[in-house]
C-alpha cells in the first residue's frame, strides 16, 4: 500500500493555508510568551524591576496563557490538520470550512482573553483559580478558544470518517489515527474546564450569582489540567513514532503497538486529576490514592514508546553496519535538524518523566507541591520535550506547506538552536529543581521574605535561572529567524513531509483499535468510576460559597 510515490505526496495548498494560519498565531504567541518568560527570570533574580508599573503576575499570566494555551493548541491543531490531510487525503470543502470556523473562533477568543490580561483585568494566571475573579470577557474568550478547538478538531474527525467509509475493513493511516485519538482526548478533557467556566465562573463574574464553589471549580479544572499535558505530548509522540523513523531512513517498529499505546494514553490520562490536588482539603485520601494508581498506568505506554523508538534507532544503526552494544548511536543522522532537535526533546523526557513520577507519588508530593521544582518539571516536559519536537516538526513542515526548502544554513541554525535550548534549560530547569527541593515557591516575584535565612539560600538559584532564561530567549530568537525564513524567504522547492512505514507492513493492525464505541465507553467508565463518588462528596459536604476577589 505504501510505496515511494506516496512519500512524495504533498499537502493540498488549500489545507496548507489553514495549517499556516495556525502556525502564524502559534509563533506570535511564542515570541510574546518568550519575552515574558525572560522578564520573569530577570525580575526573580532580584537585579531587575519591570518598568511602567507592569506587574510580575500580569506578565506571568501572559507567559502561561501564551505558552500553555495559545502556542500549544494552535500548533497542535495546525500540525494535526496537515497530518490528516497528508495521510487520509485532502480535506473536503466542508471539513476545511469547519477548520477555518474553528480557527477564527479560537483566534477571536484568544484576542478577547489577551485584551483583558493586558488591561490588568485578568491577572489570574492560566489556571484562573476561583475565588480570584477575572473580567467576564476573559472567561468568555477562553470559552471561545475551547469551543473553537472543538470545531477545529471536528474537521480532522470528518476527514478520518470519510477515509474509513471509503476503505471499509482497513485500519486507518497511523498518523491520522493518532491525530484523531488526540482530538478525542482533548474534547473529553475540555468538557471539565468548559463546565466550570460556563456554569460557574461566567455567571459569577457577570454578577448573576454571588458565590462560587471553589473545590468544585478546582476539581473540574484539574479534570482538564492533566490530560491537557498529554494533549501537548501526543503530537510529539506522533513525530517520534511515525516521522523520525522515516527521517533517519529506518522503519516504524510496530504499527499496532503504536496504536495500542495511544489508546492507553486516551484511557489513562483523564481520570487522574486528583494528583494535582493531593495536598488539598475536602477530598478523601482513598480517592486521591486511587487516582494516583490510575496516573501511573501511563507508565506502561511510555515504556512501550521508549522501547519502540530505541528499537528503531538500533535496527537502523545495525543495518548501516554498526557493531557493539551502542555502535548504532554514532551512525544516527546528527547533522539533520529534523532528527537532532526532536531527539534532544526525546532524551529530556527521561529525567522529565522521572520527575513526574515523584510529583504524582501521593504523600511524596508534599515535598515539592507548588515549589519551583514543579516549574522546573514542566519546563523539561512541555518546554523541552514537546516544544523542541514541535520546532523539529516546523523545520520541514513549514517549508513543505509554503513550497520552500530547508537550506543547509537553516538546517545548521536549527541544530544550533536545539543545543542552545538544551544548555539554557539545563541552567534554568536544573536550578528550579534544586531551589524547589530547598522549598522555594513557584509563581512568586522576587522576595527576601523579610531577610529570612532560608530565602537567602534560594537567590543564587534564581540568578542561575535568569542566566538560563536569557540563553533560552536567544533560542527563541533563533526559532523565530528560522520560522520567518521558512515561511517567507527560503528558496522555492519541495520539502518532504516524511511519514514512516511499518517494519512488517503485511501485519495489519487489529480492527478493534478503530472501535470508538469500545474505547470511548471504557474512557467514560474509568472517568465515572474515578470521579462520581468523590464529586458527590464534594458537592454534598460543600461549605458556603465564596465571593469574588480582585487581589492584584
Amino acid at each position: 500500500m505504501v510505496n515511494s510515490a506516496v512519500s512524495k505526496i504533498k499537502v493540498d495548498p488549500r489545507d496548507a493555508k489553514l495549517s499556516m494560519a495556525h502556525f502564524y498565531v502559534a509563533f506570535i504567541a511564542l515570541a510574546l510568551g518568550g519575552l515574558m518568560g525572560l522578564l520573569q527570570t530577570l525580575v526573580r533574580s532580584g537585579k531587575y524591576e519591570l518598568p511602567g508599573g507592569i506587574g510580575y503576575y500580569q506578565i506571568l499570566t501572559v507567559h502561561g496563557v501564551m505558552m500553555g494555551l495559545v502556542l500549544t493548541t494552535f500548533f497542535i491543531m495546525g500540525f494535526q490538520y496537515a497530518a490528516v490531510s497528508r495521510t487520509a487525503g485532502t480535506h473536503s470543502n466542508a471539513a476545511r470550512r469547519t477548520g477555518w470556523i474553528g480557527f477564527w473562533t479560537m483566534t477571536a477568543g484568544t484576542a478577547m482573553a489577551a485584551t483583558m490580561v493586558l488591561l490588568n483585568k485578568a491577572s489570574v494566571l492560566y489556571t484562573f483559580y476561583a475565588p480570584l475573579q477575572a473580567h467576564w470577557i476573559f472567561y468568555l474568550g477562553l470559552t471561545l478558544v475551547v469551543v473553537g478547538s472543538w470545531i477545529d478538531g471536528a474537521a480532522q474527525i470528518m476527514t478520518y470518517a470519510k477515509w474509513r467509509k471509503n476503505n471499509p475493513g482497513k485500519p486507518s493511516p497511523l498518523l491520522s489515527f493518532m491525530a484523531v485519538i488526540n482530538t478525542v482526548l482533548w474534547i473529553v478533557a475540555t468538557l471539565g474546564v468548559a463546565a466550570t467556566v460556563l456554569f460557574q465562573l461566567l455567571p459569577w463574574s457577570l454578577g448573576l450569582v454571588d458565590t462560587v464553589d471553589v473545590l468544585v471549580s478546582r476539581t473540574l479544572f484539574w479534570y482538564f489540567g492533566h490530560p491537557l499535558v498529554y494533549f501537548w505530548l501526543l503530537p510529539a509522540y506522533m513525530c517520534w513514532y511515525t516521522i523520525i523513523p522515516k527521517i533517519i531512513g529506518g522503519k516504524i517498529f510496530s504499527d499496532s503497538l503504536a496504536r495500542l499505546s495511544f489508546i492507553l494514553f486516551l484511557l489513562f490520562s483523564i481520570p487522574v486529576g486528583f494528583h494535582h490536588q493531593l495536598t488539598e482539603p475536602g477530598i478523601d485520601p482513598a480517592w486521591k490514592f486511587f487516582q494516583v494508581v490510575l496516573t501511573f498506568m501511563v507508565v506502561i505506554p511510555s515504556l512501550m514508546t521508549a522501547f519502540s523508538l530505541f528499537a528503531t534507532f538500533e535496527r537502523y544503526g545495525r543495518s548501516k553496519g554498526a557493531t557493539g552494544l551502542f555502535g548504532w548511536f554514532k551512525v544516527l543522522p546528527w547533522g539533520d535538524a529534523r532528527f537532532t532537535v526532536p531527539f534532544i526533546g526525546m532524551a529530556s523526557f527521561i529525567p522529565a518523566g522521572a520527575g513526574g513520577i515523584i510529583n504524582a507519588s501521593n504523600q511524596m508530593d508534599q515535598v515539592v507541591h507548588n515549589t519551583i521544582w514543579i516549574t522546573g518539571h514542566f519546563h523539561l516536559t512541555a518546554a523541552t520535550s514537546v516544544v523542541l519536537t514541535f520546532f523539529g516538526i516546523s523545520y520541514w513542515l513549514i517549508p513543505h506547506l509554503t513550497g520552500r526548502k530547508l537550506t543547509k544554513a537553516m538546517n545548521k541554525l536549527g541544530i544550533i538552536q536545539g543545543w542552545v535550548w538544551f544548555i539554557g534549560m539545563v541552567f534554568m530547569s536544573g536550578a528550579m529543581h534544586f531551589e524547589g527541593l530547598l522549598g522555594g515557591p513557584r509563581r512568586s516575584a522576587f522576595s527576601t521574605y523579610g531577610g529570612a535565612k532560608q530565602a537567602a539560600e534560594w537567590i543564587p538559584y534564581q540568578i542561575a535561572q535568569a542566566v538560563g532564561g536569557s540563553i533560552l530567549f536567544l533560542g527563541i530568537i533563533l526559532v523565530l529567524i528560522i520560522f520567518i525564513n521558512l515561511a517567507f524567504f527560503a528558496p522555492k522547492g519541495e520539502e518532504e513531509f516524511p511519514v514512516g512505514e511499518a517494519e512488517n507492513p503485511q501485519e495489519s493492525a487489529p480492527m478493534v483499535f478503530e472501535n470508538w464505541k469500545l474505547w470511548l465507553g471504557i474512557t467514560a467508565a474509568l472517568i465515572l468510576f474515578a470521579y462520581t463518588i468523590p464529586f458527590i462528596d464534594i458537592i454534598q459536604n460543600a461549605p458556603p460559597g465564596s465571593k469574588g476577589f480582585k487581589t492584584w
Binding site: 475565588p131 478523601d284 508534599q366 522555594g440 509563581r443 522576595s447 461549605p543
Partner: protein
C-alpha cells in the same frame, strides 16, 4: 498483534517495578499513616474569626489528644496570623489552618508541611518538630499582587 520478546521482558520488568513502587506508597500512606493532608472539616469563610479554633490563632497546649500542641493559623491576603511563633523542640504539633479570602498555600520550608488553604475548608497536618532552628512559612499558591510578601516564621527552641 505481535510483540517482540525483548519488549515483553522490558514491560514485565517495568510493570513489576510499578507494582512494587505503588505498594510502597500505599503501605506508607494507609498503614504507616503518611497520608497527604486531606482534612474534610468545613468552615464558613466569612465567619472564620468567630469560629473555633480560629478565634484564637497561635500555639495552644492540649491534653488527651494524640498531639501535644495545636498551632492555629488564619491566612488572608497577604499575611498569616500569627506572624511568628515559638515551638518547643520535640513537640508533636497539629497544624490547623484556613483562609478568609482566596486560595493560599501553607508551606513550612524545609519540612513536609505543605498544604493548600481553600476558602471554606480547614487544612490540618500533624508533625513533630525535631530540629531546632528558624523555619520560614511561605504562601506557595498565587493569591494576588502581594503573594511573594506573604510569610510567617516558626522558631523551634530548646
Amino acid at each position: 498483534m505481535h510483540m517482540h520478546k525483548f519488549e515483553k521482558i522490558w514491560l514485565i520488568f517495568g510493570v513489576g517495578c510499578l507494582i512494587f513502587f505503588l505498594t510502597t506508597v500505599g503501605v506508607s500512606a494507609f498503614y504507616l499513616g503518611n497520608k497527604p493532608p486531606s482534612c474534610l472539616t468545613t468552615v464558613n469563610p466569612e465567619k472564620v474569626d468567630q469560629t473555633k479554633p480560629f478565634d484564637k490563632p497561635g500555639l495552644h497546649k492540649v491534653e488527651g489528644k494524640d498531639w501535644d500542641y495545636e498551632l492555629v493559623y488564619v491566612a488572608q491576603a497577604f499575611s498569616y496570623n500569627p506572624a511568628q511563633v515559638k515551638v518547643p523542640l520535640g513537640a508533636k504539633v497539629r497544624v490547623i489552618a484556613t483562609t478568609k479570602d482566596v486560595v493560599h498555600g501553607f508551606e513550612v520550608a524545609g519540612t513536609n508541611i505543605n498544604m493548600m488553604l481553600e476558602p471554606g475548608y480547614v487544612s490540618e497536618y500533624t508533625t513533630t518538630f525535631d530540629k531546632a532552628g528558624e523555619y520560614l512559612i511561605v504562601c506557595n499558591e498565587y493569591c494576588g499582587a502581594g503573594h511573594h510578601l506573604m510569610s510567617s516564621k516558626i522558631e523551634v527552641v530548646e
